[in-house]
């Protein structure tokens, strides 16, 4: 401070209206003032309009009975609006999570196929990517819903796949696990087995880093996991049982039911997002320096080893940030469920508003829910990214 003033020379300082430091602050104050003024004006309009129409401006409506039921759930019309939102949030989360897993898998397969030596495979993957990437995801979802899922045979003529699945236009019923006495305890043991397996795998990795002897960590993990889970299964005496769907006239007993809307959403989101992920995978593999591949071949690695141990680990590092973006897109696109009536959080909000509940609060809540989803995904992927980033000098 002292030095600056001395350099300026007290008398040489320009008048405030020409002093760039003053002008900078004045400009920012002006801009913030304009934005804040505009915001206040709009919010003022909003509240006065709401008051005049007698719409409440608080969040009290959340605890009132919803007045509508949600299909395929235990939610009844006497439950509160907040509970309806919770059902919607859970559905969005389930749909996005399953969608991300399948889209990632399909995307990697198609992306690798686009680089195949096999002309037929390469071209087929290219046609898949170039056609699905350039069609709106909403059109794909609606197509799967109206032109595929709803055109399946009715439940009377449902196709039964070797007794494992019953598929009709009222959804697919898939095999599931059923509580046969001590499911909760058994779940606990499964989790314990997973943790123990992960710990052993970690120890094997440490040992491998130290001594260089083969780690076989996947085998060790699987071994520990199955020993713990199997022992628990035997000791608890069949705590859970497989439940296969059995069709009897118009009802299907057993299994877990996947509503047609969910199936259409899932397939639409997965095939669309996979086409984008495939491009990311292809780009990342191409971005790995060619010399790496050539060196691996020169060392005598097979095609599979080259991909598994040399190319993919490096490509994976490049693809995390754009993949994270696609995961976010899939989660946000799950809101398209409003068009086919799957009860995700956006559809539920739509129903809530149509029941006469205040729209501004509902939409703010909806935005907050999606922001939380987005932030969670960003947090997870950023953590993975940080751990994967190559530490350079």
């Amino acid at each position: 401070m002292e030095r600056e003033r001395a350099a300026d020379g007290a008398g040489l300082r320009p008048p405030p209206w020409r002093d760039v430091r003053v002008l900078r602050i004045a400009f920012q104050v002006l801009v913030v003032g304009i934005v804040a003024g505009l915001g206040l004006y709009l919010v003022g309009n909003l509240t006065s309009n709401l008051d005049r129409q007698g719409i409440r401006t608080d969040f009290g409506y959340l605890s009132q009975p919803a007045g509508f039921a949600i299909a395929d759930t235990s939610f009844r019309s006497t439950d509160s609006v907040l509970d309806a939102l919770k059902v919607g949030i859970r559905n969005t989360a389930v749909l996005s999570l399953i969608g991300i897993v399948f889209a990632l898998f399909l995307g990697i397969v198609v992306g690798v196929a686009r680089l195949s030596r096999n002309w037929l495979v390469r071209k087929a993957a290219a046609v898949y990517v170039e056609s699905l990437r350039n069609i709106p995801v909403l059109v794909i979802i609606i197509f799967f819903y109206i032109a595929v899922v709803l055109r399946l045979p009715p439940i009377q003529q449902a196709s039964e796949w070797f007794g494992a699945a019953v598929i009709s236009n009222s959804g697919a019923v898939l095999p599931s696990l059923r509580d046969a006495g001590a499911a909760n305890l058994f779940t606990l043991f499964v989790v314990a087995g997973f943790v123990a397996g992960a710990a052993v795998a970690w120890m094997r990795t440490r040992r491998f880093d130290r001594t260089g002897e083969p780690h076989h960590r996947v085998l060790w993990f699987a071994g520990v996991f199955f020993v713990v889970a199997g022992a628990a299964y035997l000791v608890l005496g069949r705590p859970v049982a497989f439940s296969l769907p059995v069709r009897d006239g118009l009802v299907v007993a057993g299994g877990i039911r996947m509503p047609p809307e969910f199936a259409a959403m899932l397939v639409g989101l997965v095939v669309y997002t996979a086409s984008h992920i495939a491009e990311i995978v292809r780009g990342s593999i191409l971005a790995v320096a060619r010399g790496q591949s050539e060196a691996a071949t020169a060392l005598g690695l097979t095609d599979f080893q080259r991909l598994r141990f040399v190319v993919l680990p490096q490509a994976f590092r490049i693809m995390i940030p754009p993949l994270a973006n696609q995961f976010l897109n899939l989660t946000k696109n799950s809101s398209l469920a409003v068009f086919i009536g799957y009860a995700d959080v956006a559809s539920v909000t739509g129903i809530i508003v149509s029941q006469g509940n205040p729209a501004p609060q509902s939409i703010v809540l909806l935005m907050a829910v999606y922001l939380v989803f987005s932030l969670t995904i960003s947090l997870v992927t950023n953590t993975v990214n940080r751990r994967m980033t190559l530490t350079t000098r």
Partner: protein
């Protein structure tokens, strides 16, 4: 540098060239389809699946599909309820646009490079195959010689413009961009102005194209300003821009459409006229796309070397001139493919406006199946396939055009 002895320098030209090895079809098949056991199995299995898919698709397109629903509603798909007597306005507007777009394409705009070798006609026709395919499909479906003639005239107008544009002297060639903007306004007035039909009554492809065009024109400047704001040296402006961008990017477009539909009216002063649905949809699309564009442009701004700005400052250029003449041209060129990618997203996102009650291309595809003569026939697949084909032509065409522009501007090379 001392000259090397003649003998060592002179290598016969033939030895420098790589040997040319023309592969016979047999070798090609061996190399690309049956290089080893695994790939041979893959080829056989995949070949069977692809054959099945191709046969199924061909059977649907040429045999089982009842295209009568699309044939009967072709005009509805294109322009909705636009007064049938006034459709000449749309044709005239398209002709004008075709000529001026051709002019701009041929003149190469401001960036014409004198030494650029003119492309052979075949090469420049190649990117036009998706629209040409659509044109053929429309002509076949309409079965009308008038439509066929008009569409052919449209293509010819474009090419005529291109040839004329290539012959334009440079000073005039620069103005083709302005001419294009003016023509867009003229086209809008012609279609929506007196005698025509206002934008709030538009439907079908017309609405889709109008929303996409207006959305691109409005979101681009806003996106650039937001990106500049995010990189600004004023902390307050930076915070405002970051807040806006991250908020919008964290929520789906549906929530903005919800807002535009349900509560935009509440934000206006009492007694004010509530904007039309088209305006509201456009506001949501523009606000949404601008945030994504801002992030893309920011990437470009970060790619401009600092030395460029410092050199410009050393030359005494003002900050505005530096941004306009030095930073932005380089930044936008660097991220051109991603910008076009956002425009493609916007084009695809227009399919969501059906949520607030507008009937664009997808809306028409769903509504025509409810017409009395087609109700209950389950012809959804036909209409949806036709609609998605049009979307595909638009999006794929744009991505191809951006790839061509990329090579022409030498992105990643200069």
């Amino acid at each position: 540098m001392t000259a090397l002895p003649e003998e060592t320098v002179r290598i016969p030209n033939e030895a420098l060239r790589p040997p040319v090895h023309a592969r016979s079809p047999r070798e090609w098949i061996k190399e690309n389809l049956f290089p080893n056991a695994f790939n041979s199995v893959l080829t056989v299995v995949f070949g069977a699946i692809i054959m099945w898919a191709v046969v199924r698709t061909a059977r649907f397109v040429f045999v089982t599909a009842q295209w009568s629903i699309v044939r009967a509603n072709l005009t509805n798909f294109m322009v909705g309820f636009f007064p049938r007597d006034e459709i000449w306005r749309i044709w005239v507007a398209m002709m004008l646009l075709a000529v001026v777009t051709g002019l701009r394409w041929g003149s190469g705009g401001r960036r014409r490079i004198a030494e650029r070798t003119p492309q052979p006609l075949r090469q420049s026709l190649k990117p036009l195959w998706p629209p040409a395919l659509l044109a053929v499909a429309i002509i076949v479906l309409s079965g009308s010689a008038v439509t066929a003639g008009l569409i052919t005239a449209l293509f010819l107008a474009g090419f005529g413009g291109r040839i004329a544009g290539a012959a334009l002297p440079q000073p005039i060639g620069r103005w083709t961009g302005v001419a294009l903007a003016v023509t867009l306004v003229v086209a809008y007035v012609l279609v929506a102005g007196p005698g025509g039909s206002g934008a709030s009554l538009w439907r079908g492809l017309l609405l889709t194209m109008a929303l996409a065009a207006a959305g691109i024109a409005l979101s681009f400047p806003i996106g650039v300003l937001l990106a500049l704001g995010r990189r600004s040296s004023f902390p307050a402006i930076r915070v405002l821009c970051v807040g806006y961008i991250e908020l919008i990017r964290g929520v789906p477009l549906i929530t903005l459409l919800f807002m535009a539909f349900l509560i935009l009216g509440f934000f206006l002063p009492p007694g004010a006229e509530i904007p039309t649905l088209v305006t509201r949809a456009l506001v949501a699309l523009v606000l949404f796309t601008a945030a994504y564009l801002a992030e893309v442009v920011r990437g470009g701004l970060q790619a401009v070397p600092k030395g460029q700005i410092e050199a410009a400052q050393a030359l005494g250029l003002s900050p505005v001139t530096i941004t306009r003449r030095i930073v932005l041209p380089q930044a936008l060129r660097a991220v051109l493919p991603a910008i076009v990618g956002q425009f493609i997203s916007l084009f695809k996102d227009t399919s969501l406006v059906g949520f607030i009650g507008l009937t664009e291309l997808l809306g028409v595809a769903q509504q025509v199946t409810k017409q009395p003569e087609f109700l209950g026939l389950g012809l959804h697949a036909e209409t949806l396939v036709f609609a998605s084909f049009i979307y595909w032509v638009g999006a794929y065409g744009m991505s191809r055009a951006s790839q061509r522009m990329e090579t022409r501007l030498g992105v990643g090379e200069r």
